[in-house]
Symmetry: C2
Subunit: 208 residues, 2 copies
DNA sequence: TTGGTTGTAGACCGATTGGTCAACTTTTAA
DNA sequence: TTAAAAGTTGACCAATCGGTCTACAACCAA
């Protein structure tokens, strides 16, 4: 409607009031890290305050209550995972290479030194059955990933490098199930090197 | 040392003092059910009191603190699982049939109407990375199961029905990883029927 | 009958939980 | 210069947490 009074471009979107003294990205990463290591229930607000360095009031004003902060970290993790997968796939030329690269990226969660596994899986296991909203967030993410993999497999089926006697979506789900199992098992005794060795068998089962 | 004064045989091991008014098996099953549904942290003593019908004093006197009761339910679940596997395998004649039966038994956790999954996996995911004692209990169980499966596969390799170009222990771990992934995924959208269909692909990958 | 032992019942405890709030500070807009 | 807006700080809150303890009841052996 009315014109701006100043000639200042939108490049500096200074907000009203006192500016924040913290970096939102750093704080969210710290909170994500805390939730990832200990889970939702076992992470107290005191833990989050210590992890982020913020005071209680600032945390609540900026991110709402514990569950809201948790959901923010969850969406953040899933968005990063999605971006990482897209970037990984974009760098590979063939369906076989894409599949290998995707599986290798999935198994990256097996490398964590503290056995923290995959945040999304941890959340699904802890909260999925009780919390429909969280279950939907994680479930939709898994659906997206599986569709990406399904497309890769369908492409490979068309070119004859992947077996065509089974649905592409079933083969994608098969590989996803394997990856989820490997990451879950890596929270215990499964070593990343063995996980990657077993992954070869899983992918071999998809080849024509 | 000293001889018994009464001629009563050991058949009736009446204990000293006031007898318990509850059935220990029922109470442990109720506690197991509560922990299984909600996880360790999210299950409060109030939940356990409601689930078992016992009063606080009785619960603590009979089973110790929350963690101790939890460990008792965990060992109970694992012992039952082990017994179920042994019984399942005993009824099958060939290595192929044993493997099918084992996998089918594993995927029984996918059938739970409330998506509660497998107690052992849930516990490993929630507590494994932080609690060495619990991690060992669950880890040892997985080791035992994997050894059973390894023996089956080695037998099948010897008779030529399973592929021999990979270690039996790797093939066993491969199948275990798949089963764990399927059960984990069943806490979300994976249906039991699809899980069993995918399991065919997993077992096919082991056949010669 | 009495003393020892175990189980039941529930009041009670300090600590911790997630969450709110008021006083104060720092910024921008008028 | 002043008012509104947003952020910071930490005291404060009721509720819940896991756990203890005392009074009492029910059983056995002596």
């Amino acid at each position: 409607m009315s014109a701006r009074h100043t000639a200042t471009p939108d490049s500096a979107p200074r907000r009203l009031g006192r500016p924040r003294e913290f970096d939102e990205d750093e704080v969210l990463d710290a909170a994500l890290d805390a939730f990832w290591r200990k889970g939702f229930e076992a992470t107290s607000m005191a833990d989050l305050i210590e992890a982020t360095g913020l005071h209680k009031g600032s945390l609540y004003k900026a991110f709402g209550d514990k569950r809201s902060l948790f959901l923010t970290t969850l969406r953040r993790y899933l968005a990063r995972g999605h971006a990482k997968i897209e970037a990984t796939l974009a760098g590979e030329p063939t369906p076989e290479a894409k599949l290998d690269a995707w599986m290798n990226a999935m198994l990256g969660s097996c490398d964590a030194a503290d056995n923290r596994g995959c945040y999304a899986i941890n959340v699904e296991v802890e909260l999925g059955p009780h919390d429909p909203e969280i279950a939907k967030v994680v479930g939709d993410h898994f659906d997206e990933v599986r569709e990406l993999v399904t497309a890769i497999i369908a492409e490979g089926q068309a070119s004859g490098v992947f077996r065509a006697d089974r649905d592409a979506s079933d083969l994608a789900e098969f590989l996803a199930v394997f990856a989820i199992g490997a990451v879950t098992r890596s929270k215990g005794k499964l070593e990343a090197t063995q996980a990657r060795r077993l992954a070869r068998s899983a992918i071999d089962a998809v080849l024509a």
